[in-house]
Amino acid sequence: MNIPYTVEERPDSGLANGKLGIWLFLASEVMLFGALFSTYIILRTGAPEWPHGELNIWLGMINTFILIASSVTMVMAWAELKLHNWARHRLFLILTFVLAGVFLVNKYFEYSSHFAKGEGPWHSTFLAIYFTLTGLHGLHIVGGMVVMAYLLGPGAILFKRNPEQFVNRIEYTGLYWHFVDLVWIFLFPVLYLL
C-alpha cells in the first residue's frame, strides 16, 4: 500500500505530508527553546549581577561562521539535487556534515576548558543556563548529523526508487538544519556578547 501525499500536495493543507510534519515538529522546537530562552531572561533580570567575559567569544564567532556556512552548503545540496547533479549534491551534503562535526569539535574544546577549571553547570547560574542551552543545541546538531549520515548512506537508495520523495527529504532536512542554525544565531549574541 502506498502512503498518499509523500510527493504531491494535500488538497486540504496545500502541503505534502512531510512538510506539514516537519513544520509541526519545528513549532514544538520553537516552544522548547522559547521556554529555555524565557528562563534565561527571568534568571538574568532577577540576578543582582550577571557575569561577563566567562566565555571564549572568538571560538563562538568561529562556530557562528561555521553554522552560517553549513546552511549555505545545505541549501546547495538541495538545489543541486533539484538540478539532477547527484555528485555535487553528495559533495555539498558531505561538506555540511563535516562543518557540523567541526562545530562540535570546537564545542568540545570550549566545554573542556571550562571543566578543566572546575566550571561545570553547578558553578553558577550563568553556566547552568549556558550548558543547558548549548548542550541541547549540540544534541540537535548531533541529530542533524545522524539524519545526514542516513541520507548519505542507506537512505540514498530512495533516489533510485522515488527521486521526488528523496528531494523532499533533503528539503525537510534542510529546514531542520536551518532551524538549528537559527537557534545558534540567537544563542551566540545572548550568551557570548550581551
Partner: protein, 66 residues
Amino acid sequence: MSLKAFHLLFIGLSVVLAAFVGAWAGQQYQAAHDATYAVTAAAALAGGIGLAVYGAAFQRKMRRLQ
C-alpha cells in the same frame, strides 16, 4: 514555507547578527582601544555586506527552481 524562503530569512537574520557584532566590537574598541576589536568590527561589517550580496544572488539564481 519552502527551504528557499527559510534560507533567505536565515541569511537576513545573519546580516542583522553581523551588524550587531560589528556594533558590539566597535563599542569594545572605543572602551579598550584593542586593535583586535577594530579588526573584528571591520570583518563583521564586511561579512554582513557579503551575506547581503549572497542573499540577493541566491534569490536571483533560485528563481528557476520550484
